[in-house]
Symmetry: C2
Subunit: 223 residues, 2 copies
DNA sequence: TGGTAAGTGGACGCCATCGTCCACTTGAGC
DNA sequence: GCTCAAGTGGACGATGGCGTCCACTTACCA
């Protein structure tokens, strides 16, 4: 399932086993309690010591990234499929629906998404840029076809993802997400435009996490 | 501005002054850092000791409630105005727009909203019920008039508020909120219904906060 | 102007999480 | 089997927020 065979895991058998148990425990813990769940809890669920957890995944982010690797793959795939779809509108809907479903399926996906596409790392930054560029192309195509309203702006994707992400905390995130996305897709159709929209937000995918999560402002400096 | 003259604040002059400084500091702190900002930070900003803060507002919730009292008033008012509006659709839009704008204007409004309408307290529970009942009436009226799509469900209000609340963390919450609400209102029009909606979520206003904020599950019990 | 209760601030103890360190255990190769 | 490096777990100090307690200060009233 994972493509890392060229890089044979040099882990001892028992270590590899523990690694898998950690991943499984973390996935469950994230889904139930959110990504802020204490590391010790994950370790306990996995039946290992905290040291083992920290040795394998020195930071929470690395753990998150590992866990959501598949979903991120699916995310990129959805975009590619959409671009290949001969029907621009169907492709557009496909991306929105798929990404929102992924986001709703497991809490923490947004964090994973951003950790995978950080501003800093050149390689990943390229991936994020590719994603944004791909989506922008999709938007243009759907608008030219007359299916997507012309005042839709690519930055609306960020608004949609932010909004959708908030549903993760409800009892049935998938259901709530489907409902929201249905409404939004209806409103994105060209013929749904009734009143002029306020100006677009210009938000990028980097705004999916609140500023505080990335660079914490000093308390003293605000005084 | 505040109606509490019948209940003369029996606070000493300096105490009342400090109380106001706390409220002002807390409002600013909440807006900038969210409602989770440490109590000590609020106290420092207000130039008082933590003891003073805790004496005046024994819990964070009471502080939040006090701060957003005006907005909650506005919230109820918006619903009343909407019910008085002869145009059902305009009334419906008014409520959604107003409440979302209030929510976007200041972080923490959602917490305040729920703290003001807790399940437990009979009096406040009545207020929340009134709110939900009033909105349901508004929905029915707008649907009978043929303006609001018939598959709109009152529980969608919770979805909207959850979604809208997520925009508080962006650089310009008001702008993002306006954009989202514009889209959603377009999709709520009767003539916007294209594909059948998935079933309604049945979420109540009580679901606006994640379960963890109300009753924290024991770590050990999950094992 | 002086007595007093209301008001004040910050030190303090409590608790949870973090991430490291180290003495012990175990799997893999000979 | 024996060896030893890789792996392990939990104790531990650091950090930071919470809410209380108490010795000091001050506004109000007579």
């Amino acid at each position: 399932m994972r493509e890392i065979d060229a890089k044979p895991s040099r882990l001892r058998a028992d270590a590899e086993r523990n690694r898998q148990r950690i991943i499984e425990a973390a996935r469950e813990a994230f889904t139930w309690h959110g990504v802020e769940v204490p590391m010790a809890t994950i370790a306990r669920k996995a039946g290992v010591g905290v040291a083992t957890l920290y040795r394998r995944f020195p930071t929470r982010d690395e753990l998150i990234r590992e866990i959501f690797a598949d979903q991120l793959q699916a995310c990129s795939a959805a975009l590619d499929e959409a671009l290949d779809d001969p029907d621009p509108w169907r492709g557009f809907c496909h991306v929105i629906e798929k990404v929102c479903a992924l986001q709703a399926a497991e809490r923490g996906f947004t964090e994973a998404f951003l950790n995978a596409f950080p501003d800093a790392a050149a390689d990943h930054s390229r991936r994020r840029l590719e994603g944004e560029r791909g989506f922008a192309a999709l938007v243009r195509r759907a608008q030219r076809a007359g299916a997507l309203r012309t005042d839709f702006h690519p930055s609306d994707l960020t608004v949609v993802l932010l909004a959708n992400n908030a549903l993760s905390a409800t009892p049935d995130p998938a259901a709530a997400s489907r409902r929201l996305v249905s409404y939004l897709l209806d409103s994105f159709r060209a013929d749904a435009a009734h009143t002029p929209l306020p100006p677009p937000t210009g938000l990028g995918l980097g705004h999916l996490l609140p500023a505080g999560h990335r660079a914490r402002p000093t308390q003293g400096s605000i005084e």
